[in-house]
Amino acid sequence: MAKKGDWVRIHNIVLRSEQRTGKLPDDTRASDLQMWTKGFLQDEAAEIGDEVTVLTAAGRLEKGTLFEERPHYTHSYGDFVPEIIEIDRQLREILHGGEK
């Protein structure tokens, strides 16, 4: 349950697939054009999925479906990639011939 003033993320369908008329590949045309943004909740209280209004960082009022409360970043440096270690070893070997 989010309450007024909470920082939240909202979701919107900008264009439904049938409204997409431009020159598009089939896979894109078959999908809705979706949008996400963040802001301070303006409604007294809301649950995920409710239609709400937010005040964004740039001072815009935007309507949408409540998508996430207290949104946070989850991107990272990813899983271990053994090839990277191999590149490092190879480069130093070639450049310095094993001696440093």
Binding site: V14, L15, Q19, R20, T21, G22, K23, L24, P25, D27, T28, A30, S31, D32, L33, Q34, M35, W36, T37, K38, G39, T56, A57, A58, G59, R60, Y73, H75, S76, Y77, G78, D79, F80, V81, E83, I84, E86, I87, D88, Q90, L91, R92, I94, L95
Partner: protein
């Protein structure tokens, strides 16, 4: 601010020209001839900013005068694969040292200063790249609101890690980020936001933005003269929308570098559609690739301004490509041999430079025009991990023979397999000439002498080449 206007797709797009004129504070019609030609130099002069003024704007906001670093270990490695006496000295302009971590600050500084001067309250930019952070940073410094519109997710809501990181950075710098799924209708959302807010369109392709990059070329010239006593022989620019190459080349010319060659380098993404929802997350670079580089070079005027100020074919001496596996390998090389951990896509030109240097004598000077910041998501490890999660085959091999964008990433099995390919520049030039005539809807028999000269200037060719291309 528009009140009670219909906001559906067709209505907003129909008002597009008026919205853009309001949002740029610039009328492009005086530059049009009514035929194919338009007066590019008059458009660039219309900004009324001299190189000195731009330098003043940029130095007030932590932009420009970045170090020119010699890559001694990479040069030594390249020489191991060159014939005796060959292997140019490789230098890189460390543009990651700009306030928000890329050369895009040069564009954003001027766009924001201009918005401020004209009295706009905020700026909007449509970009999934470093330009977002640059505009957000400059808007913060110059006291403007900022909205960045990004193409970030596929239809399942899976974000490209690099673009997700760029969104984080924009938000950290105080901007609102509107994130969209794949599709060119991003332009509709951008127009709609510009109309509602009355903010300035800090387009990547405005003359203010492109003039801002001229200082980069100028600094390269001055630093080479100071450090090395002469002009660079070759400057290699990573090419996507064409702004980097256009601005850098113009700056070099303003510094009087008449003999310096300027090459474009892009990552070859042949076979992947830039508008495809599925292909979106099957690539490991979000810029610097042929998916932007070729269409923007051959048809610059399909951006968010009536006429793009980025027109790279006017300045390009050669167009070379490298593969995804090569630029990822090269990024690791820059970190591991030179101690410079810098973002991946900006190293496209460096990848080409490693191979190009081997064709140049040892005393030649080759400058790579940029680096960019790196971070979570925007780094080769998350890119390779993400590719593997998406079923992309990653292995060591021969990139020039095995590379299939969207299917595999071929890491060169040793540095001798980093080899640029030369693209057919004359083919792109012909394509530019034909598209310009077709777009203007002018019959061949009605082309004016001014049109022919314009098309020659557009493609760095001559009237004979233009005539031959058009069958005249």
């Amino acid at each position: 601010m528009a009140v009670n206007l219909p906001k559906d797709y067709d209505s907003v797009m129909a008002r597009g020209n008026d919205i853009m004129k309001e949002a740029l504070g610039l009328d492009y019609t005086p530059f049009e001839s009514g035929s194919v030609a338009f007066d590019y130099e008059a458009l660039m002069k219309s900004t009324n900013y001299t190189l000195d003024e731009i330098n003043r704007i940029q130095s007030r906001t932590g932009v420009g005068n970045t170090p020119l670093l010699e890559l001694r270990n990479i040069t030594a490695l390249a020489r191991k694969y060159a014939k005796p006496g060959y292997g140019a000295r490789i230098f890189v302009k460390d543009e990651a040292a700009n306030a928000s971590g890329s050369f895009k600050d040069r564009r954003a500084a001027c766009a924001c200063a201009h918005a401020k001067k004209l009295g706009y309250k905020g700026v909007v930019a449509a970009t999934s790249g470093n330009y977002g952070a640059a505009v957000a940073s400059q808007a913060a410094m110059q006291g403007l609101e900022c909205i960045i519109v990004q193409e970030c997710y596929d239809s399942k809501g899976i974000g490209q890690p690099e673009i997700v990181e760029k969104a984080r950075k924009c938000e950290a710098l105080g901007a609102e980020v509107i994130q969209l799924t794949v599709g060119p209708e991003l332009f509709y959302t951008t127009l709609s936001v510009l109309e509602d807010t009355g903010f300035f369109n800090a387009s990547l392709y405005s003359p203010f933005g492109i003039s801002g990059i001229e200082t980069l070329g100028y600094e390269i010239a001055m630093q080479c003269r100071e450090k090395l006593g002469r002009d660079p022989d070759l400057v290699v620019c990573t090419n996507a929308g064409g702004g980097m190459l256009t601005g850098t080349a113009r700056g070099l010319l303003k510094a009087g570098c008449k003999d310096t060659k300027v090459y474009a380098a892009s990552i070859d993404l042949s076979g992947l559609s830039m508008a495809s929802d599925v292909d979106f997350n099957r690539k490991s670079c979000t810029t610097g690739h042929t998916g932007f580089g070729v269409p923007y070079a051959t048809d610059p005027d399909h951006s968010d301004v009536p006429r793009s100020a980025a027109r790279p074919l006017r300045y390009m001496d050669k167009y070379v490509t490298v593969t995804q596996g090569e630029f990822l390998y090269m990024t690791e090389m820059l970190a591991n041999l030179e101690g410079l951990e810098r973002g991946p896509a900006g190293n496209t030109a460096l990848t080409a430079a490693f191979s190009l240097a081997q064709e140049m004598p040892e005393d030649a000077i080759l400058v790579v025009s940029e680096t960019e910041y790196t971070g979570a998501g925007k780094h080769i490890q998350p890119q390779l991990a993400f590719a593997r999660e998406n079923g992309i085959d990653i292995h060591f091999g021969i990139p020039q023979e095995e590379d299939k964008p969207g299917v595999n990433i071929i890491l060169p099995k040793d540095p001798s397999y980093i080899k640029h390919k030369v693209a057919d520049l004359d083919h792109f030039r012909r394509s530019r000439i034909k598209k310009a005539v077709q777009k203007a809807g002018v019959a061949l028999e009605n082309l004016t002498p001014e049109d022919l000269q314009y098309l020659a200037d557009e493609t760095k060719t001559d009237i004979a080449f233009v005539k031959e291309t058009l069958g005249l």
